[in-house]
Symmetry: C2
Subunit: 97 residues, 2 copies
């Protein structure tokens, strides 16, 4: 299992719209092949800053299967207008817990 980190900065005033968009899309991730759940973290110091963490079976499940699926368009349609800049996306392995 790997974790997708997406560092997202939203436009001023779009914090709630973004969170509502993520909530609306929970079924999209629930049905995505190889997806094992998500968490949304909201920065205390910078309210425009969020970290979306998504568990995937592999990087390919995220970057190939999901990104090339119609559901990726639904996801970006729900939240993309909130982005102040392209999200910074990377993947990790959890080495200590």
């Amino acid at each position: 299992m790997i974790t997708e980190f997406a560092e997202i900065t939203v436009k001023p005033g779009m914090e709630q719209e973004f969170q509502d968009g993520v909530a609306t899309c929970q079924p999209v991730f629930a049905r995505a092949a190889g997806c094992h759940g998500l968490e949304l973290h909201h920065s205390i110091e910078n309210p425009q800053h969020f970290i979306l963490m998504v568990k995937w079976e592999s990087v390919a499940h995220h970057m190939e299967t999901f990104r090339n699926s119609p559901d990726f368009q639904i996801w970006r349609g729900a939240v993309g207008a909130c982005f102040a800049a392209p999200p910074k996306v990377y993947h990790t392995k959890t080495t200590i817990r």
Copy 2:
């Protein structure tokens, strides 16, 4: 409960030493007031990049109680030499899970 995110870039070749230092310090966090565990995430795309996530009861437990305790010096002594730059640290609330 809040989450501390520390984005850490280590010097080239110090990846293992850093991870060993974090592992050695697990008791430091286990005994810290208001600390409820940590995870270390290692970037797949950039091996020098790590995300340390620590659960705290409040920002003050991290930024005041822990940072002013002798254990903070033990922690920085164990891993500080590995840092390529000062860690980028912020705190979040989990709004969707």
